[in-house]
């Protein structure tokens, strides 16, 4: 398959074009808004109403960022990533784009930053809501460095899950199949595998475990904070930060490699 040299200008315009495709998809944007922003607002409304004198800022930041990095924001990343990975094929436009002479790899690679940018837009607004709620709730002040760490964690989680979703969606060519598989993996399979103690350190390869390990101020897997899931409080799975970063890199890069391989051989 022909590969091409893409200029920076062309790459930027192709990424903007991908963003245009995504942001004009109203139902997906609405759903993403509800997941990343609406639920964050709802969460803080509920816990603020239950608290007396405000929630401590670190706790509020931790909860808000976890909502975005591990739960509902993660669903947003999956939603947008799978959309980016399948939109051209399902609409039938992919063949017309290939017929322009642009390499298939170029057409694939621009999907990743575009999807990440759109997913981040939602999750960072959600995070801004968390920060606002934490500071406005009367729970004290927050170090800017701590806010930046939590923001970085949300960015990292969103990027990895979005890239993973783009790659898998390109591989399967089916949005619904990919969403089912990725959500099922993240919510059910990960919890089951994490609890399978006989797997030992192999469980360090789980995406959610590695993400939890990098959570600011709360290294999960230590005896103080044993589980990545509150449903499994008794489990202990310590891992190094370097291992966690390598695991995340693998979860982001391998699906992209697989997706790129698939798109080269895909029937156009």
């Amino acid at each position: 398959m022909t590969t091409s040299f893409m200029t920076t200008v062309t790459a930027r315009q192709m990424i903007f074009a991908e963003i245009l495709k995504l942001r004009r998809h109203r139902s997906t944007m609405l759903t993403a808004g509800v997941l990343s922003i609406g639920i964050t607002v709802l969460y803080f409304l509920v816990i603020e109403s239950r608290s007396n004198g405000g929630i401590p800022v670190p706790k509020a930041l931790s909860s808000g960022s976890a909502l975005l990095a591990m739960y509902f924001g993660s669903f947003t990343a999956m939603l947008i990533g799978t959309m980016a990975g399948t939109l051209d094929v399902t609409s039938g436009v992919f063949r017309d784009l290939v017929a322009t002479g642009r390499s298939r790899i170029d057409l694939f690679l621009v999907r990743v930053p575009a999807a990440v940018a759109v997913a981040l837009a939602f999750n960072l607004v959600g995070f801004a809501v968390s920060v606002f709620a934490a500071l406005a709730g009367g729970g004290g002040s927050a170090e800017p460095a701590l806010i930046a760490q939590y923001a970085g964690w949300v960015v990292l989680a969103t990027t990895v899950v979005t890239a993973l979703s783009v790659g898998i969606a390109t591989l399967t060519g089916s949005r619904s199949l990919t969403l089912t598989a990725v959500i099922g993996w993240q919510t059910v399979a990960t919890t089951l595998l994490y609890s399978a103690e006989f797997l030992g350190s192999l469980r360090q390869g789980l995406l959610e475990v590695a993400l939890s390990q990098l959570r600011p101020g709360l290294a999960v897997g230590t005896h103080e904070h044993p589980g990545s899931s509150n449903a499994l409080p008794g489990l202990v799975l310590p891992m190094s930060t370097v291992t966690a970063i390598l695991v995340l890199a693998a979860w982001a890069v391998l699906p992209i490699v697989v997706g790129a391989r698939r798109i080269q051989n895909q029937d156009a």
């Binding site: 939109l87 436009v93 322009t100």
Partner: protein
């Protein structure tokens, strides 16, 4: 024909899908600056050929040269100057026509953005360019497909069944647009099973049957040949006997209401008429037999379900 006057040349082009050969040892020569028709029944191999020409499929053997460049080696530079509609134009329905063109312009390169508005204007979609494509009629989608082709400022347009779904007015507009594009020096390859449209639009054709080219050249040559005339006369037997012995008549066959004669020179017809009348044959009419493209197409090709001998 000189290679330099050809926009597309294929040599021994072959593509198989499993045991089925979709395109077999195909030698195609498309002249530059003409409207060229690809004729064939459904499943004859037209779309497979187009997909090969656009690098969407890799041939099993043979070569493709477009504008002097070999494929797939020079695929990107060749296709930068080619606009194509394959089977039917597809778009993102949730985007407007203009936004769909922006997507393709981004892929083709920054120099193509200024062509968006002129392209929309040329196909008559300037006013509806801001509407979502899912609200477009089939004809509007076809026209938007042509506009998308024009973003490349193409020297070659490959249009696969572009008349599909168009009403008579739309067909007429498209025919005029193709004529304009050809007048600008562009080459248009038009695949269709609408023989009448090919005859009205194209100057040359290739007839494809079961993956092979069974005829290619100018349409005038395809439907031409020795002139034929139907002569309504009585008695037929006397007319057949007389004309069979006439050295200027190439062939004569009896019909229910007269005879059909093939002559080497059309000017002989009036003399033949006078001879018949002089011999006591009552001649009530003489009319030229027009061989249509459809007639020749059906003679050349195997109809669905028929086996090639």
């Amino acid at each position: 024909m000189n290679e330099s006057s050809l926009t597309i040349t294929t040599r021994g082009l072959t593509k198989r899908f499993g045991h089925r050969t979709a395109v077999a040892d195909l030698d195609l020569a498309v002249p530059s600056g003409r409207a060229f028709g690809l004729l064939g029944h459904n499943g004859a191999g037209k779309t497979t050929l187009i997909r090969l020409l656009l690098g969407l499929l890799q041939p099993d053997s043979g070569s493709i040269t477009i504008a002097g460049h070999r494929l797939p080696e020079h695929r990107q530079e060749v296709l930068a100057g080619v606009g194509a509609i394959i089977e039917e134009p597809h778009f993102h329905g949730h985007l407007s026509g203009r936004e769909n063109l922006r997507i393709v312009a981004a892929v083709r390169g920054p120099h193509t953005f200024p062509r968006i508005e002129p392209a929309l204007a040329r196909v008559g979609l300037l006013e509806r360019g801001g509407d979502r494509v899912r609200t477009y009629s089939q004809g509007m989608r076809q026209r938007l497909g042509i506009a998308r082709c024009l973003l490349a400022d193409p020297h070659l347009l490959i249009l696969d069944e572009p008349m599909n779904g168009l009403d008579p007015g739309g067909i007429l507009q498209l025919r005029q647009l193709i004529a304009e594009l050809v007048a600008e020096g562009r080459t248009v390859v038009l695949s269709s099973h609408l023989l009448g449209e090919i005859e009205k639009t194209c100057q040359a054709v290739a007839v494809i049957d079961q993956g092979r080219i069974v005829w290619q050249g100018a349409i005038a040559d395809l439907v031409g040949g020795a002139p034929q005339y139907d002569i309504n006369c009585d008695p037929t037997s006397l007319a057949v006997a007389m004309l069979s012995a006439d050295p200027t008549v190439v062939q004569v066959t009896a019909r229910t209401d007269g005879v059909r004669v093939t002559v080497a020179d059309p000017s002989d017809v009036s003399r033949i008429n006078a001879r018949l009348i002089g011999a006591g044959v009552a001649v009530s009419g003489v009319s030229p037999v027009r061989i249509s493209l459809e007639d020749r197409f059906l003679q050349l090709t195997t109809r669905t379900g028929d086996a090639r001998p």
